[in-house]
Amino acid sequence: MIKRALHESHCPQMIRILTFTVMGVKMGVDTEQIGGIWEVDEARRLGTVIHYFHEKIFFRDRAAEYHAPKAMLVKDGDKEYSLVIDNPDDIIEVGIESIQPLPSLIALPGTAGAFWGAVANDQGIVLLVDFSRMKNGCMNKELDAQAI
């Protein structure tokens, strides 16, 4: 009973997601991982390390395009850096029952490692990204090389 209560207290029933788009792919991130959003020039002026999203996650042969770039301050443990995304869209509350794990062929170790789930809605599919899983940058380039 006590164990169950502890478990329940550690698992939130809702999370707040900031949705955004990078190169046509709709994604969402837990707002707890973000310290703020501002213009890229402003992030440069503040002197934070800046990474573009496509430098962190391999988009295969898609050309890097940002139509309305914004710098997101990412809080990753005791480190902070700015991550440039495109088109920050909305902040939505999502019940954990609406979150689906990725299909097993997508969720293989080293495949879409930074993505941990997805939410399907009327507008399509929002991939949930965890910035703390992006530490290895474009490790997924190796995967295509392994393909048949």
Binding site: L105, A112, L143, I148
Partner: protein, 175 residues
Amino acid sequence: MADDTAGNKNKSDLILEEIMRRKEKESVVDVEGKKVKVVIFSLLNDFYAFYGEYIKEILPIMTIYYVPGTPEFIPGVINVRGEIESVINIKMFLGLPEATEVLNGRIALAVQEGIRSGILVDSIEDVIDIPASSIVPALDTLSKSIKDFVAGEFVHKDRLVTILDVGKIFGKITQ
């Protein structure tokens, strides 16, 4: 009388033998008649099939949502009535060229050993039951990129149909 009895016995023996022979024949016929369901589909101009027991649904082509970081032969995920499923481009997986135009493309939703995925095919040609005995080992002339995933082949409407093994395909991706 003794001869008659012996004759009767012989007759019953003969009858029993005939019955046993017929039963044996029936069982042989049963083996020959064992059917398996196959889903025949096309890739480019060739016919392939999956065993029907592993295909849960045939879906129309729908929006495929790209997932960054996945291998090239996985174009993304689809939303099937609220369930998110991966999609395999089987031509790319097998090293076949892309068709210039696919008019009747479909997604075969395959399930084996707990792994589910949609598989893109150029068209679904037929879903039929065939005698298990009609399936023969594949020709050695198949290209190496395909041979590893072949379960056998059979002839349907004068065309050779190569059976692809869903389990071997999933196994290669997950290894």
